[in-house]
Every structure is written in structure tokens, then in C-alpha cells.
Symmetry: none
Subunit: 247 residues, 2 copies
Amino acid sequence: MTMTYPPLSRDGAEPLWMQLMRALRAEIESGVRGPDQPLPSEAELSDLFGVSRTVVREALRELVQQRLIYKVKGKGAFVAPRKTELRFVGSMSGSADDLRESGRRVTTQTVRQALGEADEREAALLRIPLGEQVVRLRRLRRVDGQPWLLVDTALPARLVPGLERAILENQSLYDVLRRRYGIEPAAADRWIEAVFPNREDAALLEVSTSTPLLGIESVAWLEDNTRFEAYYALHRSDQTRFYVGIR
Amino acid sequence: MTMTYPPLSRDGAEPLWMQLMRALRAEIESGVRGPDQPLPSEAELSDLFGVSRTVVREALRELVQQRLIYKVKGKGAFVAPRKTELRFVGSMSGSADDLRESGRRVTTQTVRQALGEADEREAALLRIPLGEQVVRLRRLRRVDGQPWLLVDTALPARLVPGLERAILENQSLYDVLRRRYGIEPAAADRWIEAVFPNREDAALLEVSTSTPLLGIESVAWLEDNTRFEAYYALHRSDQTRFYVGIR
DNA sequence: CGGGCCCACTTGTAGTTACAGGTTCGAGTG
DNA sequence: CACTCGAACCTGTAACTACAAGTGGGCCCG
């Protein structure tokens, strides 16, 4: 299997290791090498591409981190099986859609809806400058009349002009984002913790301040890595549980 | 701020970069450097610890990946803001593998390990008849010495003969399942809730019975839909949060 | 006093060498 | 024939050098 590789450019526009990483990734994703098939050794790649082992190792390190390959000391580097790694395939949506399908009556009440300036936490999560305009939403979601979820959402105003005036009652925010702003979520990070609510949140959720709740922080982004939404949700888990599927 | 660092051991038991990474991480997590405060430059660290810049860069790279620091070209490395947000990557595994990679000392203590007959919950989750033999495990996982996770696992004895006698201390259960029984997890469902521990569990986790914990129920299955594992895990979330990446 | 440039310092990239430690496989030995 | 042991090969760790490229402060000049 003697592949012909495009030569690497040494004009300094792009690091050698990145070019090499791309070349190897393209080859792997093309499927030329099956799962668990070995890549050429570092020394061989070094010769093949005319670069130092430093560059080769840097490129392989990146591929390992992307979980496209794995390395075994003393043996070599191998194509990782299951190109779609097992991951949490959670409801990308704010869960409204899923619940609706289950035949329950889901209502969403907007408690607050306003323009504001990003505080430190929002700026960090959304990767925007401190003080940049954001649309803030505080929404209470009920299922069959019972308080379920209290969500504080922040979105960069630049991405969603006019959202501070949109009617969101009983709508899925993700639906609005998709239809009105063409926003297609690509991925998200979420952190889940067990917390107590403060007095105000407890009142809205109709629980005592000593009821343990799920606190869920989330940041979601587009294909191009633009962060478009950050939220913190308080989830009553005394009646139901938060579901995560992994496929 | 002239810190006194413990000297690095050169006996080869642990790579220099990992020792250095640990030393820097301990310092950062102790809080002596505030958020966005600069670390010593690579050259300074090199001198301070008497190692090459190679070792320093390797250690810093690891800390960047753990999101404890960030680097800016031409300026330096800085303590990342956001609290001690220890990373807990959720993939398929029981989290042991992921944590181990982050260079922390993960120990697993088997509190109980026995054969038994499936109760109603286990039978329903595993889709086996009531009373069929199951292997039950109760394991306590510590990270850097601190109790982290208490897991009650049930597996159909038919699928894992002899597991009730296997030595599981400090091993990843998923590793054992894979190597010894050829079990390859294909998917899983998980439900997360916020709960209080009972007295016994609280004692094991070294928290009070009024500390809110994450309760995680999980059932995992093979490609052919055979359920091979059901567990309920209690997760301390006062020190770290449960992370879910959605891609 | 203001502006621009240079220099010192920083991280990033790339090359080199050396050796440690794990894996594989075949030659030689009992 | 089985078994061992070493050679060859692999990745991991560590050292060194060199230069590119970004940052920031201070000095000099107009």
C-alpha cells in the first residue's frame, strides 16, 4: 500500500505537524485503513514526509486526542475503531421536544426576558468580551401543570437580534432559533451537579430550599465553533429523572 | 512569591513531566495563584526544577488539556478562571479510564462482591427473570484519596462466570469485562437525579446525610441488545461536576 | 511631549541525539 | 520439539539547539 502523499508546504503558513495531521486524518477518514490497522511507524512517516520525528509525534498526538487513532507503546499507532465514538447523544434540545412527544402537556412560561451586558461567567462561556450585549431569558417549564425546570439562558444579542421581544410562550427555544435565525446546534458541553435552590428559585419551582435539585450548566455552539447559548437549569428530580442516552 | 518545590525524582518510576504537572496542579488548586495570574515562564520553570524545556512544555500541555491553565503566545501561561472544575469526561466507561488519563491517583475499593438472585429492579433493568443469578459489586472509587463515587453494580452471572471471585481492586471493570469476557459495550441509558444518601452510603463517601449527591442509574448493553450491566452510582458533586459532552 | 522603533522576553515550531522500556520473532540450545 | 534469549523494531522520555513569531516596555528622535 504505497500511498502518494501531497508534499508538505514549508512556507510557514501552516505548521508542518498540522499539515501532516490533516493528511493522515484524510487518509483515515477515507477508510483506506480499517479499524485497528496499524499506521506506518513514526520513523517511516518521518522518512515518507521528510520531516523530523518531532513533527510526526506532534501530528499523531493530535490524532490521538481526536480519538481517530490510539497508540500502544512498543507496537505502534492504530486506527481507532468505531469512528463515531460512543458518546452521550443527549437531547440537544432543551428537552421540550422530547417531552412533548411523550404526550404530556408541556407549558413554558417566560419569567424574564431582557437585553443586558454579559457578566464574567457569560462572557467566559460564550467566549465574548465582558459587557457585550446578551439576551437573557428566565423560563419556567411545567409538565402537566407541575413546575419542572427553571432555566436562565444567555445568548449573544448579535446572533439573535430581536429575540428580547419575541414571543416564546409555549415554544421550544431551539425551534425559534432554528426557524428565525437559522441556528443549527452542532454540539454542547454540559455539567451536572446536585444543589439546593435559593429562596426565589425554590418558590418558582414550588419546592423547599432543602430539596436537592439537579443544576445543569450548558454551553452550545455551531459547526464553526461559535458559542450561541449558555444556560443554567434547575431541574426538579423528585418526580422524574434526567435522561442521558449513549450510543 | 518564592515557592519551595519538592525535588523531582529521577528514578524513572514516573516521568518528570508528570511529576512537574502534579506539582504545578497542586499549586494552582491550592489557590495561591488567582485566576488569570501568570505562571513562571517555561525558561524559569526549567531552571527552578532543573529540567529541560521539553519536560516543562509537556507538563504545561497536560495542564492546558485539563483546562487548568491557558497559554497565550508571546505572553505566557495563566491560571484558568472558573473554579476547580475538575474534568470528568463521560464516555461509555465507568469513568475510571478517563480519570486515570488525567494523571490523578484513582483507587477502587471493592466493598462487597457476591453472587445473588436478581431482585425486581435488577431483573427489569437487565431483562432477566426474577431470581436469576447475578454478580453484585459494591465499589468505592477515590480520586487522590478522596471518596468520589459509590457504585452498586449487578451483572447477569451467566455472562460473567467467575466474576464474583475476580480481583477488581484498582481495576477498571470495563477493562476486565473486555479482556476476560470479551464484552464490548454498545450503548447505555442513564438517568440522573439529585438525592440524599442514606447513613451507610454517607459514611462511605465521608459526607453528611444532608449533602445533595448525584444519583446515576445506568443500564448498558451489547450490540445484540443483551443487557450486561446495571448500576446505581452515588457521585459527590461538591468538589466537581459531572460532565457530558454532546457531539 | 508624542510616536515609532528596537530589544528583551515569551511561546511555537522544528530539528537532532540518546536511551529506556515494551513487543515480536527467529535463531540457537537444551 | 519446546523454550529461552537476544536482536530488531516500536513508542516514550529527555536533553539540547535554533529560529520564528507575538508582546510589551523603554529609549530615542522629531
